[in-house]
């Protein structure tokens, strides 16, 4: 058990380091898009450690408790995440619902402390974050329901092994589901088309408005680990997990860069456009994919 817990937090640390450096690289890629050099690859580390070195202002005990709860919840979630077939913390307790709901702990902690700061911009930002979550979460879970039903198990490693044994990734088996899940991934990562809740122009960076110094640093760490969880979740569910670490890092890099590039050419939706977009187009697509996959499986082969 102790070994499991240690490897769990090892995975969380690895996730943080890997995603932060990948964030720096992707900022360079985006800069190259705009014909400029872009920051150093370890710029995200510099930002986070600079924030942790500053003396911030705090708005009361709930403001700090929320940040601690958010970071703690996210570290616990990352601990359950299997990296490859043999690097994992706990054998069969990594089922899908732990991630969806433990990320909600992070969201709740941040939301609680943001609205505890007394700034109306933060509350509006939190409202938008929750509304966006309502929009992208339902189609994603419908698609994952199909995967769990099809693979027979809800543990990520099980699904990854199922795809490896069958030799067919769910990206190929459920093409429509893959597109839906990728768009939901953009929503989860808070990437540009669905970035309404951190909109710097309208809400002065939404929930983050009152944070500075170490609180903001801890929230940046939480954001990096959340991105790691969501992208590796996507890799395990749709790209068949990974035999060894390099395959995992490669798949992870490809998924994150594609998401980043897609997000850099997009504007930003208004908040009710986000909800209408997801419920008018993405959910019906997910429903069709689910119906075809579950009830008409004998149809095409």
């Amino acid at each position: 058990m102790m070994v499991g817990i240690l490897t769990g937090f090892g995975v969380a640390l690895f996730g943080f380091v890997w995603q932060t450096s990948l964030g720096g690289i992707s900022r360079k890629v985006v800069a190259r898009l705009q014909k400029r050099y872009g920051p150093k690859w370890y710029q995200e580390f510099l930002d986070i450690f600079k924030l942790l070195s500053k003396r911030a202002t705090s708005h009361g005990w709930i403001f700090d408790l929320g940040v601690i709860m958010a970071l703690g919840g996210i570290i616990a979630t990352a601990a359950f995440m299997p990296v490859t077939n043999d690097i994992f913390a706990f054998a069969d307790f990594d089922n899908f619902f732990i991630y969806v709901y433990l990320i909600a702990v992070g969201m709740l902690g941040m939301a609680m402390s943001a609205s505890g700061s007394g700034n109306p911009l933060a509350s509006i930002g939190v409202m938008r974050a929750l509304t966006t979550m309502l929009a992208y979460e339902v189609p994603f879970m419908v698609i994952v329901m199909v995967i769990i039903k099809h693979a027979g198990t809800s543990s990520l490693r099980g699904i990854a092994m199922a795809q490896q044994d069958a030799g067919m990734w769910y990206m190929v088996a459920l093409p429509l589901g893959f597109i839906v899940a990728f768009i939901c991934l953009l929503g989860m990562l808070g990437k540009k088309p669905f970035e309404t809740y951190i909109a710097p122009a309208e809400l002065a960076s939404g929930p983050m408005v009152e944070y500075g110094g170490k609180q903001l640093g801890m929230l940046f760490i939480m954001h990096e680990i959340t991105v790691f969880i969501e992208v590796s979740l996507f890799v395990h569910l749709f790209l068949g997990g990974a035999e060894n670490i390099f395959v995992f890092l490669l798949k992870y890099f490809v998924v994150y860069s594609v998401a980043n590039l897609v997000s850099n050419v997009n504007g930003r939706f208004k908040i009710d456009q986000v909800v209408v977009f997801f419920y008018k187009w993405i959910l019906p697509l997910a429903m069709i994919q689910a119906f075809v996959a579950l009830y008409m499986n004998g149809w095409w082969n």
Binding site: D64, M133, A204
Partner: protein, 627 residues
């Protein structure tokens, strides 16, 4: 002390305490309320201690007309409902002074508990109907104490419809089996036509009492307008009567196999309607449950009154219980039972926390409240733990039951119901967060600057006990399931019991080690806390010192964001919220219209018309003989 093991004595004792509470209440209001605390405490301890050890004896010697019978399901519900009554009774002394008839309040409070105990323990359908009506009548007079007669009439309307449907079903059973006894009714095999009708009637009364989709109009109005403790009792305890009747209806009277008649009834319960072996009836009830979840969530998101919001949340959770039961799968059913426990604890804690705030501020409208965390931190923490459980987030009980329910929904491959349950669980996060942000956090409003203080000790006891239980049911689900012996209930209803290997609960597609998740969450928080403490101390800053783009702001209430919290989301479905209300209004107008027509024809002041109708009626009656 063997008399306490006798069920009939416990019920009589509760009634007796009700009368004592009334008499003492006439003399001094709060003393009467304290009597209710003692009464509910004794009832709960007797039912819980003896019930869970299985030593209750069910002989009825004082009143032979009533007969009681042993059933694990009944004990399970009785323990939960009496516990909720005990927790809420701690609030009575502080709230009873506000109402017009304090003594009557205490008495009816005890009577409705007695009635609920009666429903759960009896094994005779007619007694069950009597106790059912007794609960409806006692709680009926509790509601207008909160100031709204219309809520009471609406509550009575729907409950009466539910009760009469139950009565009609009971008489159908009696005609078929000759006796009102439950065991014989359960054992008897009804023809599909009869079993479908009985099933429909049971579900109708279950829906009416649970506040599920078609008959949900009364729930928000009653829970919104009733006095605070009573709405807590309703959402935590009395609503579970509906779940009890629904369980009996589904498990005992749901026709599974096709017996004889062809045609519509055969089609209705064709076994393999879907490839996963669910019958059409199950699917219909499941879809109704799913619609309850979706409409409950959508309506809860747009409420401004915190109590109405929690009322819609208990409607949505009622939908969860329905979906969990109707899937007839042992894991999901245990999820449903566990959800009853988790929801009862969480929604009672939330209602009582809001009640503690509204006691001092006088209102539960979120647009008028704000920033109460600074005066009432403990109430805030209680409400936070309650909404973590209601939203189904790991360290609390709500997560376990939602996890179990998802197992069944996914295993059966129900797409629409699955989407509805996912929508409900994410939506519940939205609407439970709204009172947290609008009522507790944010700016402190000047009008409550010094009026609001932390709730007194006696009120804090139940709040802390409930949140402790919320945590315990979340971290040690296996122990709490064994404590409430849910497996015995499952076996009694003919389902295999849950499989616990070591610390994990075995689901269809994976194990759940709740203690490990909570442990990791705890360790994660410790790590974050250590990191927080290592770094520089941050400068404490007042609430007014926020980023306002350089403007100098001196008025706090302008800076509190609480009115129309989810405005962009509400605008999307604003036009469709009153469909069911208008449906019932038009129904009411049609009945009035029909009444006017008959009045026009039959009750005229011209004697010759009435004479004419008398002749017609006599002729009709004697038709066989005359011709």
């Amino acid at each position: 002390m063997d008399i306490f093991t006798n069920v009939e004595f416990i019920i009589l004792l509760t009634l007796g305490f009700g009368v004592i509470a009334y008499l003492v209440g006439r003399y001094n209001k709060t003393a009467g309320a304290f009597a209710t605390i003692i009464g509910t405490a004794i009832t709960f301890l007797a039912v819980a201690y003896y019930g869970l050890n299985g030593e209750l004896d069910f002989t009825a010697d004082l009143f032979p007309a009533f007969s009681y019978g042993f059933s694990n399901l009944g004990i399970f519900f009785a323990v939960i409902v009496s516990f909720i009554f005990l927790m809420v009774s701690f609030f009575n002394p502080y709230f009873v002074g506000k109402y017009k008839y304090p003594a009557l309040y205490s008495m009816l409070f005890m009577f409705s508990l007695a009635g609920a105990m009666g429903v759960f323990f009896t094994n005779d359908f007619l007694d069950m109907f009597f106790f059912f009506e007794f609960v409806v009548w006692t709680s009926l007079f509790l509601i207008p104490l909160g100031g709204s007669k219309k809520a009471a009439t609406m509550y009575y309307g729907f409950s009466a419809a539910g009760s009469f449907a139950l009565l009609f079903a009971i008489f159908m059973i009696q005609k078929e089996t000759g006796r009102f006894n439950m065991e014989t009714a359960f054992a008897h095999v009804f023809t599909t036509k009869q079993s479908v009708v009985i099933f429909f009637l049971f579900m109708f009364s279950g829906f009416a009492k649970l506040g599920a989709f078609p008959l949900h109009i009364w729930l928000p109005k009653v829970l919104g307008k009733a006095p605070d403790p009573i709405s807590a009792v309703f959402s935590g305890g009395l609503e579970k009567l509906g779940a009890f009747v629904a369980i009996i209806g589904i498990i005992r009277f749901m026709p599974m196999a096709i017996t004889d008649t062809a045609g519509l009834f055969a089609y209705l319960n064709a076994t393999a309607f879907l490839s996963n072996g669910m019958t059409l009836l199950q699917l219909i009830i499941g879809l109704l449950g799913a619609m309850t979840i979706v409409f409950g969530t959508l309506m809860a998101i747009r409420q401004d009154d915190a109590k109405k919001l929690l009322a819609y949340s208990s409607m949505s959770n009622g939908g969860y219980i329905l979906v969990a039961i109707v899937l007839m799968d042992s894991i999901t059913f245990s999820g449903g039972l566990y959800h009853i426990v988790a929801h009862a604890l969480a929604s009672t804690a939330a209602f009582l926390a809001i009640g503690a705030v509204s006691r001092q501020t006088g209102t539960t409208k979120m647009s008028e409240l704000g920033g109460h965390i600074h005066e009432m931190p403990i109430t805030y923490m209680v409400y936070l733990i309650a909404i973590i459980s209601m939203a189904g987030i790991p360290p609390m009980g709500g997560f376990i039951s939602k996890w179990l329910i998802f197992q069944g929904v996914i295993d059966k491959g129900l797409i629409v119901i699955g989407a509805a349950t996912f929508f409900g669980s994410i939506g519940s996060f939205l609407y439970v967060f709204r009172p947290l942000a609008a009522l507790f956090l944010g700016q402190q409003l000047p009008q409550f600057k010094d009026k609001v203080k932390e709730a007194p000790i006696l009120m804090l006891i139940p709040l802390l006990v409930l949140s402790a239980l919320n945590i315990v049911t979340g971290i040690f689900p296996i122990q709490s399931m064994r404590f409430l012996n849910i497996n015995a209930v499952l076996n009694e209803l003919g389902l295999q019991s849950l499989v616990f290997n070591g610390w994990t609960i075995a689901g269809h597609n994976g194990g759940l080690q709740a203690t490990l998740i909570a442990g990791m969450f705890g360790i994660g928080v410790v790590i974050a806390f250590v990191l927080f403490m290592l770094l520089k101390k941050s400068k404490q800053v007042g609430l007014m010192d926020t980023y306002t783009a350089g403007n100098f702001i001196y008025t706090e209430e302008l800076l509190h964001y609480s009115v129309d919290f989810y405005a962009p989301l509400e605008r999307l479905y604003e036009k469709y919220i009153n469909i069911m209300k208008n449906f019932y209004k038009s129904l009411a107008n049609k009945v009035k219209e029909f009444g006017r027509v008959t009045k026009y024809f039959f009750f005229t002041n011209k004697p010759e018309i009435t004479v004419f109708w008398i002749i017609v009626v006599i002729a009709f009656l004697l038709w066989g003989d005359i011709v």
